[in-house]
Symmetry: C2
Subunit: 227 residues, 2 copies
DNA sequence: CGCTAATTTGACCTTAGTCAAATTCTGTGG
DNA sequence: CCACAGAATTTGACTAAGGTCAAATTAGCG
């Protein structure tokens, strides 16, 4: 549950493994009550402020979770891929969505209706424990990420973003628009581009057809200034 | 649960009310199993990385929760006062503390042992619901606070900090060291001082004997640039 | 009163944001 | 396949925000 690179700090969510090894009866309940939802790249799954109707499970595709500032600027705070779960927080505290979710690629979701999800949790101690554990863990991840935002500079945060993205994408091929990448780092597109340029010159990464590939993970870890 | 000032965003935690209106049997269990702990101003209640032994309830006093950067710089992400609860997150996900807690004033705590706390939760659906609701709510608060850190400047963040502090302290008397205040805003002591100086000149706040008093809340809200 | 720590101010410099222009990429239609 | 328009990315020049260091002032406390 704790990142390989930074054993003393929490950086990674656990959503990805959340729906593995579920008991059979839960799987059945989900299967019989789910709605399949297909969205294309760029479409919004749910909007900040909307009322949650259920939780979403990502079957295929990649999704960004983000909050929107007044000027409309996005702040991407998490990425979700296959088998990840979306939208459970606001369902559990019975509030409107505190953030939005949109597709980075074409996606397929299972929508589990609110009542079904809540009853699964109520009737299944194990599920509840896992949810609680999951969300509590995220707490530590968030503390750390707001600390990084407050204390680390753009170069350091960009290095950290690359480490996160490497784990999110497959085969060392990071494919993300500069706009999304910069709103994940918390900087302007131009500043991000300049840092990436530096990393290229320092032979730490390569960029081909807008795909970032990591050459020297050791150096990236060192640049984060987190260890 | 949602702030008065910013109805469309989550800014406030709900810890303060967490332990009110507990069922009698829970109160009894806590009473018979608690340890009373008295610490003086400045003392550390628990350290990042330590193993949680239980949860703490603040009976009197004020506490800061913070994460520590490599250089030792503190990042204060939350303040807790009377009736607040501390240390439950890492107990629930069974990890070492992801952050530290230290006393801003002389404090008195109840320490509820791990096993007792977990059994209260297990045997008490209502308690569990509240914990889950509480933590899920915090999720939204954190998203927002990391967004603010990423997108807003020091002046805006300082204004927001003053709003938070006004709710935390009593009688419009904000008493916090510049060091703590600056690590809450996420800036240097000097930059914070300069912004406070500006606020004084603009007649928005007054500072007497190192206590900040708000003169014009309307203006402070406007300055945050959050609405 | 005198010592230490905290706060405030000033000067300077680095970082990173903004705006504009140039270049490259992408998809579409011929 | 090529040409082209529009979008995304990159680069350059400039500016503003905010960090750092040192010195001055004030507060806290025995």
């Amino acid at each position: 549950m704790i990142s390989v690179f930074f054993p003393h700090k929490r950086y990674s969510f656990v959503n990805e493994s959340f729906l593995q090894c579920l008991p059979d009866n839960v799987i059945n309940t989900i299967e019989t009550n789910k709605t399949v939802l297909k969205l294309t790249k760029g479409q919004v799954l749910f909007h900040e402020g909307a009322i949650p109707m259920g939780v979403y499970i990502v079957k295929t595709g990649k999704v960004k979770k983000y909050a929107t500032g007044l000027n409309g600027k996005e702040h991407i705070f998490h990425l979700v891929k296959e088998n990840g779960i979306l939208g459970h927080h606001n369902l559990l505290c019975d509030e409107t969505y505190s953030h939005s979710a949109a597709c980075l690629t074409d996606c397929c979701f299972f929508l589990i209706p609110k009542t079904i999800f809540l009853s699964i949790i109520k009737n299944n101690h194990n599920m509840l424990d896992r949810i609680l554990q999951n969300i509590s863990h995220e707490f530590g991840v968030f503390i750390n990420s707001s600390r990084v935002m407050a204390q680390h500079n753009v170069r350091e945060r960009t290095a950290l973003s690359i480490i996160k993205l490497e784990k999110f994408f497959d085969n060392n091929r990071i494919k993300l628009s500069r706009k999304d990448h910069s709103s994940m780092v918390g900087t302007s597109i131009e500043s991000l581009v300049r840092v990436l340029h530096d990393f290229k010159e320092e032979k730490i990464i390569e960029i081909k057809e807008n795909v970032i590939m990591i050459n020297d993970m050791e150096k990236i870890i060192r640049i984060t200034n987190l260890i």
